[in-house]
């Protein structure tokens, strides 16, 4: 069979994959009012009262310091761990302790790092896992 005759079949397969993935993403979308940090649930208000503030770029980005957040939530020997920040949409990024020392968590649950590209801005964070 000629390759161009296979094209409509490929196209239908692609539309099927895209549609099934969209349904899967919609169904598995997580919604929560708390943030799971190092195995414990916290509200944003709790975290903002517990952790020291941090800001970058003349206060363009402000929030709480991610390294202090880990220390205050009981992480020992923090430099020996990796940290996975996971958003409600499933997007996640793993960073080092050095990155955490240059990172903040905004009131909108978004991570901002002064030493990493914008791809590391995880929106609507629901979990910070210590590995």
């Amino acid at each position: 069979m000629e390759k161009d005759r296979l094209l409509p079949i490929f196209a239908l397969l692609i539309l099927l994959i895209g549609s099934i993935s969209s349904i899967y993403v919609y169904v598995t979308q997580a919604t929560t009012s708390t943030l799971l940090v190092n195995g414990q649930h916290y509200t944003m208000d709790q975290l903002f009262s517990l952790v020291q503030p941090r800001s970058f770029n003349e206060s363009q980005y402000s929030g709480i310091a991610l390294d202090d957040l880990m220390l205050k939530t009981g992480v020992s020997q923090p430099e020996q761990h990796k940290y996975t920040l996971r958003g409600a949409d499933g997007y996640e990024k793993t960073v080092t302790w050095e990155n955490m020392k240059n990172g903040l968590l905004t009131k909108d649950s978004e991570s901002v790092f002064s030493d990493l590209p914008k791809a590391f801005r995880v929106k609507d964070i629901i979990t910070i896992e210590v590995k």
């Binding site: 390759k3 161009d4 094209l7 409509p8 490929f10 196209a11 692609i14 539309l15 994959i17 895209g18 549609s19 993935s21 969209s22 899967y24 993403v25 598995t28 990796k82 996975t84 949409d89 499933g90 997007y91 996640e92 990024k93 793993t94 960073v95 080092t96 050095e98 990155n99 030493d115 990493l116 590209p117 914008k118 791809a119 590391f120 801005r121």
Partner: protein
């Protein structure tokens, strides 16, 4: 020489669109990646491919467009965008060459629409995956395969919009090609050089002004 001038002008137009329209779409929280790939990337690369029928050209176009995007460090992750644009050019080239899509015989609307879906989806999803790998690789955090794997369903889902745009873009390009619009040889180089230069000057001037003010 016409081939090189074609790479520069198509790449400059794509890069210029990414820096202006792409940034604007991101500012208003529209799915800029899918729209830009579905309309501008696929549109310009398909025009260049059906006009020149030269494998390798779209890789060059992607490199020029990605380079221009790097001169405009605003609107989302510009490094990610530049990597994605370069990857999309290479992927388009590989897909069209690998699947022998440079068809000489007249194509039906079904084939053109299928071509739009397949190439747009694969270019968009492929570019997205490449940038999810390369951006962390070049950062101090490093790349973790599990970060990519859990996000694959999102990437596959977001490609659907790009594919649906591509189903219109590619047949539209083939329809335009039937009009047989050609530029006379004596004005070809002045036009391509002029358009390319204008794109680069506007983007660089805009960057300098934003950084100064």
């Amino acid at each position: 020489m016409k081939f090189i001038a074609g790479i520069i002008v198509f790449g400059s137009l794509w890069g210029f669109a990414e820096c202006t329209i792409g940034s604007l779409l991101r500012d208003v929280n529209l799915p800029a990646g899918a729209i830009m790939t579905g309309i501008f990337a696929i549109g310009l690369m398909t025009i260049s491919r059906v006009s020149f029928r030269q494998p390798g050209m779209q890789t060059g176009i992607g490199l020029v467009a990605g380079a221009l995007r790097l001169f405009n460090p605003f609107g989302g992750c510009f490094i990610c965008s530049a990597i994605a644009i370069m990857a999309e050019g290479l992927l388009f080239d590989l897909i069209w060459t690998g699947f022998s899509l440079d068809l000489k015989k007249p194509q039906t609307l079904t084939i053109q629409a299928s071509l739009g879906i397949c190439s747009t989806y694969m270019v968009y999803v492929g570019g997205y995956i490449v940038t999810q790998i390369l951006t962390p690789v070049f950062s101090s955090a490093g790349f973790y395969i599990e970060n990519l794997i859990v996000f694959i369903p999102q990437i596959l889902a977001s490609g659907l919009l790009a594919a649906l745009i591509g189903v219109v873009t590619v047949p539209a390009v083939f329809t335009l090609k039937k009009l047989d619009i050609t530029i006379k040889d004596r004005v070809y180089y002045p036009v391509t050089i002029g358009v390319s230069a204008l794109c680069w000057i506007i983007v660089i001037t805009n960057t300098i002004l934003i950084l100064w003010l």
